[in-house]
């Protein structure tokens, strides 16, 4: 029974990490589009290159954060969350046994 519960916890963490990493797709596409359009803007108005580059760098930094959030959550779900959740589950089980719930 405990093995099954641990298996469900691990599977949940793996599925959650996979879902969190979907967030990494959007920024890649968005950044590419933004840079392509900014390059065209530079092509049209070469004199505005400095300001367009600065704005583009800041825009890319902001766009990238979404991917970073997803990646950090995914990494935490894979490496940190399973141990925490399994320990919490075992402690909960112990507490339930001690108090006569099981």
């Amino acid at each position: 029974m405990i093995e099954l519960a641990i298996g469900i916890i691990l599977a949940g963490c793996a599925i959650g990490a996979g879902l969190a990493l979907i967030a990494g797709i959007g920024p890649g596409i968005g950044e590419g589009n933004a840079v392509a359009k900014a390059c065209e803007a530079i092509g049209r108005q070469p004199e505005s290159r400095g300001s367009v580059t600065s704005t583009m760098i800041m825009g890319c930094a902001i766009a990238e954060t979404t991917g970073l959030y997803g990646l950090v959550i995914g990494i935490l779900l894979i490496f940190v969350a399973p141990n925490l959740l399994i320990n919490a589950f075992k402690n909960g089980l112990l507490w339930a046994k001690e108090n006569g719930f099981i």
């Binding site: 900014a38 390059c39 092509g43 400095g50 930094a61 950090v72 940190v80």
Partner: protein, 158 residues
């Protein structure tokens, strides 16, 4: 390989981000110190995270600079004029812009892969505390947000 000239815009923005990340990292260290959980692993984690966050931003800025440099001497026709409130028709991207798009997407994937490697190193090696190393990755966004707020304040004051 030829040497790369770093544009002033890249240097300036990277400097700002480095300063912001540095200040926020010191604040994080202070929070750890107040909580009584500060030790050398937290310091090493912060340093690793800082180096990676600034390096990541710098690489991104270099990619953007490279993409902008590729447009040197390339003339892109102006968008056709439209009536008020009407969307201009979608134009095909120029080959240079398409190349820049691909380069940026490739750079993003590479940097994300590097982040995964850094996170795994921080988690697996006992000399690093992974939590501060990962928290620092969110500081460039906070720095940009604070910079935006300060610019708004300046504009309002003027």
């Amino acid at each position: 390989m030829g040497s790369v000239t770093i544009q002033p815009a890249v240097r300036q923005e990277t400097g700002k981000i480095a300063a912001g990340v540095g200040v926020l990292s010191v604040l994080t260290a202070a929070v750890y110190l107040i909580l009584g959980r500060f030790n050398y692993t937290v310091l090493l984690g912060l340093l690793l995270g800082m180096a990676f966050a600034i390096g990541n931003f710098f690489l991104m800025a270099l990619t953007v600079q490279h993409a902008a440099e590729k447009m040197n001497g390339v003339e892109v026709p102006a968008e056709p004029e439209t009536e008020d409130g009407e969307e201009p028709p979608q134009q095909e991207l120029s080959p240079q812009a398409k190349q820049a798009k691909k380069r940026m997407q490739l750079s993003y994937m590479g940097r994300m892969a590097m982040l995964v490697v850094m996170a795994v190193v921080a988690i697996k090696l006992p000399c690093f505390d992974a939590v501060p190393a990962l928290i620092v990755q969110l500081f460039p966004r906070i720095t940009v947000f604070i910079e935006g707020l300060m610019m708004k304040k300046e504009q309002n004051a003027q």
